[in-house]
């Protein structure tokens, strides 16, 4: 039989070559592949896919079949997707995805450590760095594949629904979400490398999650207050510090990125950063001008004065979406550093 008769032979050979190339290039590749092969057989993963699909489909399916009231008037169909993402998906993802990441990653190393399969793994010529990297990447795939699947299925529903499907917006949202998932998987896997039992690793991971999700904002604002009241550092330096601290939190970074993506026009990123603050109008005005290089406008709203930050000036580059996205991924590096000083230097 010639290869023309069986095109799959060619495909298989091609895949084999890619596989070998990856193996030769990256030390972590073999570990990541084994991780994924192992994890893909677990019922937990399939449950995970199911959870993702259900959560991603429910809102759009509701819009499609149940006539869920989204306050979308006929003319606003264009905005339907933005409304769905900002009102439902964004909060759901920031709350749910880290929990899923913890579930997938908390025992990544502790389980192998307590069962003894880590000895099997480290008897083979893998460095501990490759083991951590392989674990992180393998587990990222474990979260990423069901996530991608859920995004895909939800996209089909969007196309079928009355809400206009905007592939660019949707793709960007998927990318940010994937980045966010990678960050949390890295954090949990490296925590797993630092503890001797899965129980302890799980507790530590949840502690980190609660702190990052619910405690970080008060930390950032608290630091700002201490700077102003105790150290006498007020004005723009204070707000710069608070904003940088806020952006260092992966959940906050993810949210503000998504908000900026949903916004319209040149001012989207600025308004997204601006909306991370909730201070009195005078403070808000100085944040807008001194930190975000914008022009504040005071509007009379239903609940008193609100400040909107607009303007023609360009947003400082270190607060741009690209910078925030990179800063979010810095957590992967922080996680790697934790791993180096815990797993890499520890006795098994």
């Amino acid at each position: 039989m010639s290869t023309e008769d069986n095109p799959f032979d060619g495909v298989a050979a091609g895949l084999g070559a890619v596989d070998e190339q990856l193996r030769d290039t990256f030390g972590w590749y073999t570990v990541a592949k084994k991780e994924f092969r192992d994890a893909i057989r677990s019922r937990g993963l399939w449950l995970l896919s199911l959870i993702f699909v259900v959560f991603f489909i429910l809102p759009v399916a509701g819009a499609l079949y149940l006539g869920l009231n989204l306050n979308i008037t006929a003319g606003d169909q264009q905005l339907g997707m933005q409304v769905l993402i900002s009102s439902l998906y964004l909060n759901m993802v920031t709350f749910l995805l880290p929990v899923v990441a913890i579930f997938v990653g908390y025992a990544a190393i502790t389980k192998e450590r307590t069962s003894g399969s880590l000895k099997l793994l480290l008897s083979l010529p893998h460095s501990r760095k490759d083991v951590i990297l392989g674990k992180v990447l393998g587990r990222c795939l474990v979260v990423g594949v069901p996530l991608l699947f859920a995004y895909g299925v939800a996209a089909l529903f969007f196309v079928a629904s009355s809400v206009t499907f905007q592939p660019e917006l949707y793709g960007l949202f998927a990318l940010f979400t994937f980045g966010f998932a990678i960050v949390f998987v890295s954090i949990t896997v490296s925590i797993s490398g630092a503890f001797s039992t899965s129980m302890r690793s799980g507790i530590a991971s949840f502690f980190a999650y609660f702190y990052l999700t619910f405690g970080w904002n008060s930390l950032a604002n608290g630091v700002g207050q201490i700077m102003a009241n105790q150290l006498g550092i007020g004005g723009s330096i204070r707000w710069h510090a608070v904003l940088i601290l806020k952006l260092l939190n992966p959940s906050q970074a993810y949210k503000t990125l998504t908000n900026s993506m949903l916004g319209e026009g040149a001012n989207a990123a600025r308004s997204a950063r601006f909306s991370m603050f909730s201070q009195q109008p005078p403070a808000m005005e100085s944040i807008c001008t001194q930190v975000l290089n914008g022009a504040p406008q005071v509007q009379q709203g239903l609940f008193g004065e609100t400040v909107v930050c607009g303007g023609q000036g360009s947003l400082p580059i270190y607060y741009s979406d690209a910078a925030v996205f990179v800063a979010m991924l810095v957590w992967v590096g922080i996680a790697a550093a934790i791993s180096y000083y815990t797993f890499n230097l520890a006795d098994l």
Binding site: R23, D24, T30, K33, K34, R37, D38, R41, S42, S115, G116, S117, K119, L120, L122, S123, L124, P125, H126, S127, D347, L348
Partner: protein, 317 residues
């Protein structure tokens, strides 16, 4: 570094001490295993055998001293060591959801080798059907065979086998010994740790005995036998039971005899090695006929017990 010149040490521990908190697991251990030998690492459970092996593989780091394997530093160059070493670790677990074949493929890819998984399965006595099953369902013995097969991947220069007979039935243990010999003939150095003496005695050239974190003896199997007590037990059957007491008195007088006892026509004599003929001659000189005699060498089992239980017997280092 790692460049071979002539016959070199496959493993070299130099003053290795390991403390876990306040517990000392290893105390200043010096050990050299020559390239190409089958080295038996013997000691009761908890003596520090696994800690030593863990240091060789960089699973744990020594508190003091240096460990060198195949010319590479055990800590700094661990990956290079494990590229050239096949390991059957102790207290491991297999990946429940991966099949036997997938385990082997993982080892082959990790070592960048090109072994045939089927051949490896054959060598360790696992069928292809068993190889296609998930390892989670394996018995202890099957898992042990699978991990042994993984250790053989890539024709390693060194095989480190930590308590390799655990979970193996007598057939499995025999198969293991055959494999150890085959690998050694191919040129591999074998480091074989066990608390079971007969396993080590049957296959090893050199034996090191570890007790309480200290290496208390290292020699060839024969050398250790001599060193332990230097005794041979002779059982002489005499022609006439009535001469028993005469014969006993005759041999007791000899300087090379430690003790002698008579039970009906059987005279049991503990004497120095090589004193066999002197003893037999003394009996005949006393006018007693020797009907039969049998020399029993001290079993290594006694020796092992002597080394690890009685401090006084340990030879000076």
């Amino acid at each position: 570094m790692g460049v071979k010149s002539g016959r070199m040490a496959a493993i070299e521990l130099d003053g290795v001490t390991k403390r876990f908190g306040r517990v000392t697991a290893l105390e200043s251990v010096d050990l050299t295993v020559d390239e190409g030998e089958i080295f038996g690492f013997l000691g009761p459970n908890g003596a520090g055998k696994s800690t030593s092996i863990n240091i060789l593989l960089d699973f744990v780091r020594s508190t003091e001293g240096t460990a060198t394997v195949l010319g590479y530093d055990a800590h700094e160059e661990s990956t290079a060591i494990r590229e050239r070493t096949g390991v059957l670790p102790e207290g491991y677990d297999v990946y429940d959801r991966l099949t036997g074949y997938e385990h082997l493929e993982f080892a082959i890819e990790s070592k960048d080798a090109d072994d045939d998984p089927d051949e490896l399965l054959d060598r360790v006595g696992l069928s292809h059907e068993e190889g296609a099953r998930k390892a989670g369902g394996y018995s202890k013995g099957m898992a042990q065979r699978l991990v042994l097969a993984m250790a053989l991947v890539g024709e390693p220069e060194l095989l480190v086998l930590d308590e390799p007979t655990t979970g193996l039935d007598p057939n499995g243990a025999r198969l293991l010994r055959d494999i150890v010999r085959e690998e050694n003939e191919r040129g591999a150095t074998v480091f074989f740790s066990s608390h079971i003496l007969s396993q080590v005695e049957a296959v090893c050239d050199t034996v090191g005995i570890l007790n309480d974190g200290e290496l208390i003896a290292k020699d060839s199997v024969d050398g250790l036998r001599d060193a332990a007590t230097g005794d041979t037990r002779l059982v002489v059957t005499i022609g006439d039971e009535a001469d028993g007491e005469t014969a006993r008195e005759a041999v007791t007088e000899l300087r090379s005899v430690d003790s002698a006892s008579i039970d009906e026509d059987r005279l049991t004599i503990d004497c120095n090695d090589g004193a066999k003929m002197t003893v037999l001659n003394a009996i005949e000189d006393a006018g007693v006929t020797v009907a039969d005699f049998e020399a029993q060498e001290t079993s290594l089992e006694d020796l092992f017990a002597a080394y690890t239980e009685t401090e006084e017997v340990a030879p000076e280092q």
